[in-house]
Symmetry: C2
Subunit: 97 residues, 2 copies
């Protein structure tokens, strides 16, 4: 079975970018220690500091589902809700090349 | 200096997904052999076969600029133009965590 890839774009309101950056950064270490997390990278757009993206790789769908239910993700989602500049764009992919 | 990260979403017209997939796949091997290419991964959306994304890492901006000017990218861009379902969304990022 191929791994599950995730590309998750998360946008802050322009004046909340630093605060959102702190919240998103805080979820990286606990996520990387989750079972089934192969890779979890947080990036910030070079020309728009309010534009963040996670690029993730998970062993399988069950590992990703457990991640979504994890306390750090659930709490992070509530904490960031008021900072967002739009609905997060989260898509699941399979590597083809 | 941090590396340059790229997330490039490329969408096909629904009936051209297979053809676009072939063109995008063909540019992976020559790109990976370019100087300064650290990583170059092509993915297809699990719920929308017309939705592709490249996740890339480059040593620096000069390496990325040389890539954009390379024959396989220039020719690929022309070849795929008629297959696209919209303007590609190509953004440059820096890893922050």
């Amino acid at each position: 079975m191929p791994t599950i890839r995730v590309v998750a774009h998360i946008k802050a309101q322009p004046d909340q970018a630093e605060k959102l950056k702190g919240l998103l950064t805080a979820q990286v270490a606990p996520t990387r220690s989750e079972d089934g997390c192969i890779s979890y990278v947080l990036m910030q757009n070079n020309s728009d500091p309010a534009d963040f993206v996670f690029v993730e790789e998970w062993r399988d769908l069950n590992a990703l589902k457990a991640h979504i239910k994890s306390p750090h993700i659930q709490q992070g989602r509530e904490a960031r809700a008021a900072l967002l500049g739009g609905e997060p764009d989260i898509r699941l992919y399979t590597q083809i090349a």
